[in-house]
């Protein structure tokens, strides 16, 4: 064991895991409570991940396990990382595949004919569209008209988590992310024309509702699966953005 490996910080491991997102839900695996345990023994780090159901889509599960593995290895002092997905029908294949660096297709011989880059990109684009809609809706609520929105820039959005999140998605997709970048761009980074704006925003809203709703469902399922009832109530309160239904 090398000198550096004696000082692995558990907090640093958790911070690293916080950068790993569920690609489908666009939230970090730590905030979703998918990290079941972290064990540090010298330079060896073992992480257990859990998911809301036994049959959660294995491709997304694989991405999270692989990303968690990479994230843990970036922490100073880590010699060896072991990431295990628990309580999932494909745990064995995924865990073994990631540990051996076999890649996705190699983990499921005969069942997957390609790696997951395109799948990841598809969901990054969805997250990007939903993020634009969140920021644009905020401006509309503050009185902006559609015509004004067409000329809005990222810098026009008030600083806060929605803007930070959108900026991160832009950087991942290698799209303009500075304050002077247009707020509303298509998947290729081209500004959305004023004429197309209402329809684009309307569709982006549906995307956002779908992602948010899915995330809430997954949290609820994880709660009942692992008996964490208290979190369910807090989640719905946080997700309800306005008045209570009578």
């Amino acid at each position: 064991m090398g000198v550096a490996s004696t000082g692995v910080s558990r907090a640093a491991v958790e911070t690293a895991l916080g950068t790993v997102r569920d690609p489908e839900l666009d939230e970090s695996i730590t905030s979703l409570d998918f990290v079941a345990s972290v064990t540090v023994a010298g330079g060896d780090v073992t992480v257990e991940l859990r998911l809301p159901t036994y049959f959660c889509a294995p491709n997304f599960a694989y991405l999270m396990v692989a990303d968690a593995y990479d994230a843990v290895l970036t922490v100073p002092g880590v010699d060896r990382a072991l990431v295990r997905l628990i309580d999932h029908f494909a745990s064995e294949e995924i865990n073994a595949g990631v540990a051996a660096g076999r890649g996705f297709a190699g983990s499921f011989p005969g069942l997957a004919d390609d790696e997951l880059a395109e799948l990841r990109a598809t969901f990054r684009r969805k997250a990007h569209r939903a993020g634009q809609e969140r920021c644009a809706s905020g401006l509309v609520r503050a009185g902006w008209t559609v015509r004004e929105l067409a000329a809005a820039t990222l810098g026009d959005v008030p600083a806060g988590p929605d803007r930070d999140r959108l900026r991160r998605r832009r950087l991942e997709l290698e799209l303009p992310a500075g304050d002077d970048a247009p707020l509303l761009v298509d998947d290729a980074g081209e500004p959305v024309a004023e004429l197309d704006l209402p329809a684009q925003l309307r569709f982006a809203r549906t995307t956002r509702i779908s992602i948010d709703g899915n995330a809430a469902l997954c949290r609820g399922l994880l709660d009942v699966r692992y008996r964490r009832q208290e979190a369910a109530a807090a989640d719905d309160a946080a997700a309800s953005d306005a008045a209570v239904v009578g």
Binding site: E24, P52, T53, Y54, F55, C56, A57, P58, N59, Y62, F89, A90, F104, A105, F108, G110, L111, A112, D113, D114, E115, L116, E118, L119, T122, F123, K126, E133, A136, S137, V140, V146, L197, P198, A199, L201, R202, F203, R205, T206, T207, I209, S210, D212, G213, N214, A216, L217, G220, L221, D223, V224, R225, D236, A239, S240, D241, A242, A243, V245
Partner: protein, 342 residues
């Protein structure tokens, strides 16, 4: 029939089961995992006083099914949607034959749908014709995430799938219910993607494609294809119980559907026995889209009547008593006229 404040509603429950998930019928850990997954949906989204003990959830007696649906549940007609899962359950999870036992005893109240799997090839086409004759099928339920030996799922655009859809057309099976699940193959694609529905709906304009769970968790993709294909419908199974746990989200789902596809192509379903219809119907009839969600059309009594029964009654030629019908209006969807976000 359900009556509230002087209005009476004809109820068609578009997605029910009579399953057997008892340990004796579980073939392996996947069978156990599958029913556990269903049970977590049940306890996560049911009101506390409607949560069943696990043993009640594994299998329901004939008496219980009839009571839950027709005595307590206001249902006029229930439609069985089979889910075979023969790789997970010794005798299958919920087959046409299992459902058919009940449907045959109560032909005025229960409709049984069939199923097919394109991986059964030529032999399956013959079997489908026999199944259609035996059960007088008007519909089938297709589960694209079904395992079959080495194969872990399929797509509607697989070549053999077209053969089966042609056969459906020939046999007069007009209602194609599609359930997207986490297919394993092809793993590197999004299993919940409904793009294949778009393709077959264009190719078979005389068939109706009812996408179960309104495409969730890909509501936006479902809405997108449904605006373009007039023969695509949305079934509310799984979406319904959000009315209790997340009423604002439920309002958004229904609001989005009304906006994109209109009131004529949305249909009620309890997904029994994951949930029971009584409380879902009671809550839905009392439900309004919150006032601050001004971007959505109103959920009027007439719209509720269509969603709760009249839309599916039309697809299945169910005779609705005169006093429970609505006057005919212009057919077709409201469609999606773009308007600015509110």
């Amino acid at each position: 029939m359900y009556t509230r404040n002087g209005d009476s509603y004809f109820i068609v429950d578009g997605h029910i089961h009579a399953w057997d998930a008892t340990p004796a019928n579980q073939a392996n850990r996947y069978g156990e995992g599958f029913i556990n997954c269903f049970y977590d949906y049940h306890r996560n989204l049911s009101p506390e006083d409607r949560v069943w003990p696990k043993e009640d959830f594994l299998k329901q007696s004939e008496e219980r099914i009839l009571k839950d649906l027709f005595e307590d549940g206001y249902v006029d007609v229930g439609i069985f949607q089979p889910t075979y899962l023969t790789d997970f359950y010794v005798n299958g999870f919920n087959t046409t034959e299992q459902d058919g036992v009940l449907a045959e005893k109560h032909p005025d109240k229960l409709i049984v749908n069939g199923s097919w799997d394109p991986r059964d090839g030529e032999a399956g086409l013959t079997a489908l014709a026999e199944l259609a004759e035996r059960w007088q099928l008007k519909g089938v339920k297709l589960y694209t995430a079904e395992w079959k030996g080495e194969s872990k799922g399929w797509k509607l655009t697989d070549p053999w799938s077209y053969r089966y859809l042609e056969k459906c057309q020939e046999l007069g099976i007009t209602n194609i219910h599609i359930h997207k699940g986490p297919t394993i193959y092809p793993l590197n694609r999004d299993a919940f993607d409904v793009a294949d529905v778009d393709d077959v709906a264009s190719t078979f304009p005389e068939l109706n494609f009812i996408v179960e769970h309104v495409g969730l968790p890909r509501l936006e993709d479902f809405c997108w294809i449904a605006t373009q294909e007039p023969n695509v419908y949305g079934g509310l199974a799984v979406a319904m119980p959000f009315i209790h746990s997340r009423p604002r989200y439920f309002a958004q789902i229904v609001g989005e559907l009304l906006y994109w596809i209109g009131e004529d192509r949305i249909s009620f379903a309890s997904d029994y026995a994951i949930w029971t219809p009584a409380w879902l119907i009671e809550r839905f009839v009392d439900f309004d889209i919150p006032e601050d969600m001004t971007e959505y059309p109103a959920l009027t009594t007439d719209v509720k009547k269509k969603i709760l029964g009249l839309n599916l009654a039309k697809l299945y030629d169910i005779d609705v008593p005169e006093h429970l019908r609505l006057p005919e209006t212009e057919a077709g969807a409201i469609g999606a006229e773009p308007e600015p976000v509110a």
